[in-house]
Symmetry: C2
DNA sequence: CTGTTAGCGCATTCAC
DNA sequence: GTGAATGCGCTAACAG
């Protein structure tokens, strides 16, 4: 069942079948009709491999993520897939699982699959991925960390904007002792968030107490440990910003075990706005970094680069801003007597 | 940069290069060494499309899921990918998003990609998917709902086992008024769970009150609504089994809004054991249906079928059992005076 | 054990 | 506007 069978049945050449299927405008309407009829009758489906081989374009974009089970990624994968399919692209999904071997493998899979571009949406290890990929002149897109180079796009995330909103939200409710749980600081994105927090605090005239800045790991455990440590201090913060939502959820979990009521005793703010943020109890106030936007930007960047003939020498930049989403995990500090009166209206 | 370049540099024929790369045992050690050297020096990566075209095997398995953003699936996708890569397979991931058009598209993508097999791990709409795929003599694997046919595997899930454990767990703590929140009953898996619940109740001599069996939708909202409805009754259940974890989380969320303490006022049990089940507060006691096991079984079923020359006329069956995971969302019923003493030990 | 050759299914020249 | 012919990169069959 191939293009020749269709040609025979439609009584045309294989070239005409090919042209018809590829929507070449110059095909006679009558012939085209015959071709489509034959295609339908035979249940013909063109062979992607053959097309890729002869055309030199696979119409596949690689998508490298850290791990699909990290709640930050499913939304990205879903959106990327949806957009890709709309443009008749397939996606070659790989996850590094923070494992150098898997990373190498990921790169190999990309190259052997002759993908037309790669979106590298990982946390960490981007450099290693880059090293192998960059010399193939492949369109690449990174979050923040890509080099200024031809065919390399970067999605710059304005972490500071949402974090400033969060700090001001807390300050407006008269919180003064505000803490921060960091991510792994080797990650640029984590360091930037921490810096943005400190900057926002200073901006509004609030003290940044070093003992209120504790280390997390962007995972549940880190959040739990962070809260434990914080509650060993003589004086505790009344509000806590977390470098990501999983950290915040860890904090909430530990608070539960410690008998600390959220938000009454402690206001908590997350970062990312993963789906789960709206499922936890109470629903988490958080800084949204839209995963769907991110995925769309990444795909568009790749697509645009594929279509472009003369790449710009420094690549292209895209911007993704962040913003505060109010839910129910923040309220006035306990000693103000406003307790039990959430500042944020429930969403449902 | 192709196989000929390698052949030239290693001073052998392309056939020898091909054999070397494909680990054919009969290649002379010296020549093989030369080939590998050339491969390394040139940075040669074989072209997947070309290989697929000539060999008639794409080494790609299709994976159709409902939606990646459904918390049940990320673990499956991750495991399936990991296992696939280990066997040098790629995966063509598609999601139906419960949309008939997307479903058709998914099938088309599978066929155009000439996948070597398809794992259909969806909730609903399997029949439609099947109709298009079945006549291609493709290895297929389903959960429960596949037909007995050549090259079709089924993973039979023993839903009843874990549900019986759950009911007995509650009964052992002297719960007598136990309710159940169903899933969408058009789904076989949801109907089976409901039936298993009723059966288990009868088995142990507990009454199945019709008003305690309420309809959910396997989503957060359904769980919330279910609890609302239940609390309009004159008499409420002291424990609630839910058809899946999202439902249970919805119940917990609504309980929070209603001021019902879990597990003190109401014990809650979920089903699936998605990751989130261990993140919510309190951690959810649930019936585990291992997603990693499921993914492995699905992949193995496909792989085995690909290797098999003479398919069995009725396909093959695999079994996946379920079992209760004790966490902290269940305890003694409130009127027994054991309140606040969780039955399950915390896991961390 | 190795090399030569044919052809996988298709898009794309180039004549007509 | 259409068809015949070429070749994408590779594996498999065959001859040596």
């Amino acid at each position: 069942m191939d293009i020749r069978d269709v040609a025979k049945r439609a009584k045309v050449s294989t070239a005409t079948v090919s042209r018809t299927i590829n929507q070449v405008a110059t095909v006679d309407t009558q012939l085209a009709k015959r071709v489509w009829k034959a295609v339908a009758e035979l249940g013909y489906y063109p062979n992607r491999q053959a097309r890729a081989l002869v055309s030199g374009k696979s119409r596949v974009f690689g998508l490298i993520v850290s791990e699909i089970t990290n709640p930050f990624f499913p939304e990205i994968v879903q959106t990327f897939e949806t957009v890709a399919v709309e443009h008749n692209y397939e996606i070659l999904l790989t996850s590094t699982i923070h494992d150098p071997k898997r990373m190498e493998l990921a790169v190999r899979r990309m190259i052997e699959g002759r993908v037309d571009g790669v979106a590298i949406l990982t946390f960490g290890m981007e450099d290693e991925l880059l090293a192998h990929l960059r010399f193939r002149n492949l369109p690449l897109v990174f979050i923040d960390v890509g080099p200024k180079a031809p065919r390399v796009s970067n999605i710059r995330v304005d972490y500071a904007h949402g974090i400033r909103q969060a700090v001001q939200h807390l300050a407006a409710m008269k919180h003064e002792r505000i803490g921060f749980v960091t991510g792994p600081l080797r990650l640029r994105s984590a360091a930037v968030r921490r810096d943005a927090f400190e900057e926002s605090m200073r901006e509004i005239g609030l003290p940044v107490k070093p003992e209120f800045i504790v280390a997390g790991d962007h995972r549940l455990e880190g959040g739990k440990r962070a809260l434990q440590d914080l509650y060993k201090l003589r004086e505790q913060p009344t509000a806590l910003l977390c470098s990501n939502d999983m950290t915040a959820i860890g904090v909430m979990r530990q608070a539960f075990d410690l008998g600390i009521a959220i938000p009454r005793d402690l206001s908590v703010v997350g970062f990312d706005d993963i789906r789960m943020a709206d499922f936890v109890i109470p629903p988490l106030t958080t800084v949204q970094m839209s995963q769907t936007e991110l995925a769309k930007l990444a795909f568009d960047a790749l697509l645009r680069e594929v279509k472009r003939d003369d790449p710009t020498p420094d690549g292209t930049e895209y911007l993704l801003t962040t913003q505060l989403i109010l839910r129910s995990s923040t309220t006035f500090p306990p000693d103000l007597g406003h307790a039990r009166q959430p500042s944020a209206s429930k969403r449902d």
